[in-house]
């Protein structure tokens, strides 16, 4: 059932959101992973590039420094060469020195020192240097106090006979400043033609120049650098660029001296670029160390890692920014795509979501497209149309069903009204009590009962069971009921009635329905009945004093099967207070949930156990038993039970300890006596007493009552009664009561039966008969009442038994 639903609040309930979410869930990690991997690769690459660049930069820097110094070296070398080649006189030396100073402004001072055997002879070393104010200053190094030959700047070169840079020294007496000197020995040809040392040409660079030069160096991407002499004991450091400041920024504890040590160690290991050990610097950094090929000084460059990677990081940040921007674009794009893709679905959901139980007329998107959504739309359209058609059909069916139900109800009412009830009960003679219950299994059923008085006063009663149930059975039952009423009005006995009904129902019985019927005719005055059965369960007879039996009947075939058939009729008598019970197999075959049937035995026991034979009581008990046996189990068959009790006026049945008793009021007239006789006959016949015994009883009753009536004159009604007792000892007793004047016919003499006819008295014979026929008789006057008790010899009563 389509109900009005919208996607619940919550971001992930819409298709679009889910699409977006899952695409991003997949794309973003891939994207981020790619960025990450790219970053790492790039960073690594960039780092190594930066490192090598730094390394090369160090090399370049060293080279460029060298390129400043090298010309000085080559200049001095040239001079030395010239001195050797040309061999100018000493007077020329000054000119040369001046020339050096002029050619290379960086040189602080220069001298050409002559090799002399000793300090005193031939020492010659003019020294020119730049003064502070820019003019040239002169100093003669050949002074005695300045034994230049022992000074390192001369001696080392003289000994090595190679150009050499000196370690830093303070030139006291010469330049009066810290300097380094490039000493180049020059030679001359000796007299013997051997090449011998002539002297040393020098160029001085003051360390201040070195410092200045280094400081002026553009740092570019290098962070910090220092220039220092190779000899560790020469404690001189020139900071490159503004390394001093940068150093403070880099690491407060940073110490160039330790860097120098590390650098020298690296050089020893022939490593030009390495990471700074953590002991030297708390911040990660690299050290590039280079040897100046000219002076042999070391150039140490420190590059903090951060700086090294600064570019890489920049690149990475750019990448991240681009990546995020790209991701956002991706999100937007995916969102738009998701929206676009899901639009038709959303439209469909919106259209369909509005449907509910009452409103199935949903609007579907007009142009569904060719994709799955289009397929869905088309299917929904067909479904909607089909459902609407179905609902209409169903409404039609329900309407038809409602009409059918209504008709069934009406039929049930009609059927109910066809069966005799309240009013019909009142139409019955007062001597006949009837109670009946009918429960169809469905609304209308195939069970039938009927009872109605005929014109001659007899009561026709019947119970029937049509072979089916529901509407077909009810229709058949209606026919039967009508036939029974019409044909029953004629003077047929039950057997003939059934025969007539059968011949009419059997013709044209195409549906092959049949009905079992038990039908009887009861004389409401005498209790005599006749009964015939067409395949029906035999009725139960309940005696007034208790005891049940199944009526023995000859069963004919069920009605409707054979065209012509005859039925046996059985005659019987009900004693006053006796009840006859008819039923259909819906009673005996009532099924419990466990499959057990109620059964005839249980029904008999139920009727037997009832305290008295009142029809209402019996029927009520039967209905109760059936329903409690079935205990809510669906009734599969119609159920009918009818009880008829014969209770004529003027007779009081009573069941006591001494046996069954009927007290009959006698109207004090010969007609009344005859009626009393008839009543007695009926009771005795009903109880199966022999004809002979019946005759005796009847005779005694007639004789005595006639006497009573004759002797008593006028008796008010109710004064005379005869009570018949069927004793438990199988003897029959009669008790006559009358409230007339005391009169004991027994007291009279017995008649003379042998007297000649003329002398024979007319009277007295009756009493004689009474005495002769009975076993004992006695008269008593009790409280203004004549009471005569007589008893007859015993005779086994017809014992009530159950038909097995």
């Amino acid at each position: 059932m389509v109900t009005n639903e919208a996607p619940r609040a919550g971001a992930f309930r819409t298709l679009r959101a889910r699409l977006l979410f899952w695409i991003l869930v997949v794309a973003v990690p891939i994207y981020a992973g790619a960025i990450y991997l790219s970053y790492h690769a790039t960073a690594g690459r960039l780092e190594s590039d930066a490192i090598s660049e730094a390394d090369q930069l160090a090399a370049r820097m060293a080279m460029s420094m060298d390129s400043v110094i090298r010309p000085i070296e080559s200049g001095i070398l040239t001079v030395a060469f010239q001195l050797e080649e040309v061999g100018p006189p000493r007077t020329e030396y000054m000119k040369r020195i001046r020339g050096i100073l002029a050619a290379w402004p960086d040189i602080y001072g220069s001298t050409i020192a002559v090799e002399a055997p000793d300090a005193a002879t031939g020492a010659f070393a003019p020294y020119l240097f730049r003064g502070r104010d820019g003019d040239i200053g002169y100093s003669d190094l050949a002074k005695e106090s300045y034994n230049y030959r022992d000074l390192p700047w001369y001696r080392v070169a003289a000994e090595r006979l190679q150009p050499v840079w000196s370690a830093p020294y303070f030139d006291a007496g010469g330049g009066e400043t810290w300097m380094i000197t490039y000493s180049v020995p020059f030679f001359r040809k000796s007299a013997q033609g051997k090449r011998e040392l002539a002297g040393v040409v020098t160029a001085d660079l003051d360390l201040g120049w070195v410092r200045r030069n280094a400081a002026a160096y553009p740092m570019e991407s290098i962070s910090m650098g220092w220039l220092y002499p190779a000899l560790p004991e020469a404690d001189f450091v020139a900071a490159v660029g503004d390394s001093a400041d940068r150093m403070r920024q880099f690491d407060a504890q940073f110490d160039p001296a330790s860097v120098r040590r590390v650098g020298e160690d690296m050089l020893r290991r022939d490593v030009t670029f390495a990471a700074l050990p953590p002991a030297v610097s708390s911040k990660a950094g690299y050290l590039a160390i280079r040897n100046l090929s000219t002076t042999g000084w070391h150039l140490a460059l420190v590059i903090p890692r951060e700086q090294l990677l600064a570019e890489a990081r920049q690149l990475l940040n750019r990448q991240i920014v681009l990546g995020v921007a790209g991701l956002l674009l991706l999100v937007m794009a995916v969102s738009l795509v998701a929206a676009g893709v899901t639009r038709p679905i959303r439209a469909l959901a919106a259209a369909v979501g509005s449907a509910d139980d009452d409103n199935l007329d949903i609007r579907l998107p007009e142009r569904p497209g060719l994709d799955e959504v289009g397929v869905l739309t088309g299917a929904l359209r067909r479904l909607r149309d089909s459902l609407q058609r179905h609902i209409q059909m169903r409404a039609g069916t329900l309407a038809a069903q409602a009409r059918m139900d209504h008709e069934l109800e009406v039929s049930a009412q009609i059927q109910q009204s066809m069966l005799p009830h309240g009013q019909s009960l009142r139409a019955l003679p007062a001597t006949v009590e009837v109670a009946v219950a009918l429960q169809p299994a469905r609304q209308v059923g195939g069970d039938l009962y009927d009872f109605f008085p005929l014109h001659d006063g007899k009561v026709l009663f019947a119970v029937g069971d049509v072979s089916d149930k529901g509407v077909p059975a009810a229709l058949f039952m209606a026919r039967l009921s009508a036939l029974m009423r019409v044909l029953g009005a004629s003077d047929h006995g039950p057997a003939r009635l059934l025969q007539e009904i059968n011949s009419r129902l059997a013709e044209g019985n195409n549906a092959c329905m049949f009905v079992t019927v038990g039908c009887g005719l009861l004389d409401p005055h005498t209790g005599r009945f006749s009964y015939a059965s067409a395949g029906h369960d035999a009725p139960i007879l309940r005696r007034m004093e208790g005891g049940v039996s199944v009526m023995d009947t000859e069963n004919g075939p069920a009605i409707g099967i054979e065209d012509t058939v005859t039925f046996e009729q059985r005659e019987g008598v009900l004693a006053p207070g006796d009840t006859i019970i008819l039923f259909t197999d819906g009673v005996t075959e009532a099924e419990a949930a466990d499959g057990s049937l109620l059964g005839l035995d249980r029904l008999l026991a139920l009727v037997d156990a009832a305290p008295e034979g009142a029809p209402q009581l019996l029927i009520g008990r039967i209905v109760e038993q059936v329903s409690s046996h079935a205990a809510g189990f669906q009734a599969t068959d119609d159920m009918t039970a009818m009880a008829i009790r014969f209770l004529p006026a003027g007779v009081v049945p009573y069941s006591g300890p001494e046996g069954a008793r009927w007290r009959i009021d006698v109207t004090p007239s010969s007609a009344g006596v005859a009626q009393a006789q008839s009543r007695l006959r009926g009771i005795l016949h009903a109880r199966g007493i022999s004809d002979e015994k019946q005759h005796d009883v009847e005779l005694v009753a007639e004789e005595w009552l006639t006497n009573v009536v004759r002797a008593g004159g006028s008796h008010p009604a109710g004064d005379v009664s005869v009570e018949l007792t069927l004793q438990r000892d199988a003897r029959i007793a009669l008790t006559f009561r009358d409230f007339g004047p005391a009169f004991n016919p027994l007291a009279a003499d017995a008649p003379d039966l042998d007297a000649p006819i003329d002398d024979r008295p007319i009277g007295g014979l009756g009493i004689h008969l009474v005495r002769e026929v009975t076993d004992d008789c006695e008269y008593a006057r009790v409280d203004d009442c004549n009471v005569l008790r007589v008893r007859f010899k015993g005779e086994p009563l017809h014992v009530a038994d159950h038909r097995s």
Binding site: S670, A674, E692, D754, I757
Partner: protein, 125 residues
């Protein structure tokens, strides 16, 4: 009707009784017999056919006794024929008839009558 009275006048007057002869129905028989006696004059033999009679009580006996009292003084005889057992029983108890008055069948009566005829004829000789 519980008593039916049919009068046959072939030979001897025969009263065919069927049903019950009791206090209630006896007056009818009385009336019929009175008519018979009134119209028949002297009756030598009166036959009651009881084959259809189912019941007899003292009132009916009285009818027979009265019939006897009427017929016998004139030399006539009353015969009861074909009594059913209950009727026979009652007749015996009250000794309603003299010996030889009750015949269990018509043949017996005929035989008796033949006998009597012979006796009379031989007596007259």
């Amino acid at each position: 009707m519980s008593l039916t009275i049919v009068l046959e006048n072939s030979g001897f007057p025969t009263v065919l009784l069927s049903g019950r002869l009791d206090t209630h129905t006896a007056p009818e028989l009385d009336k019929a017999l009175n008519n018979l006696f009134a119209t028949s004059g002297q009756i030598s033999r009166l036959v009651f056919d009881l084959r259809e009679l189912a019941y007899l009580s003292s009132a009916g006996i009285r009818c027979f006794v009265r019939a006897r009292k009427t017929v016998e003084p004139g030399g006539g005889k009353v015969a009861l024929v074909n009594p059913q057992p209950p009727v026979r029983k009652v007749l015996d108890i009250v000794k309603a008839m003299p010996p030889g008055g009750i015949f269990s069948s018509t043949a017996e009566l005929d035989a008796y009558l033949d006998d009597m005829q012979k006796k009379v004829q031989s007596g007259e000789d």
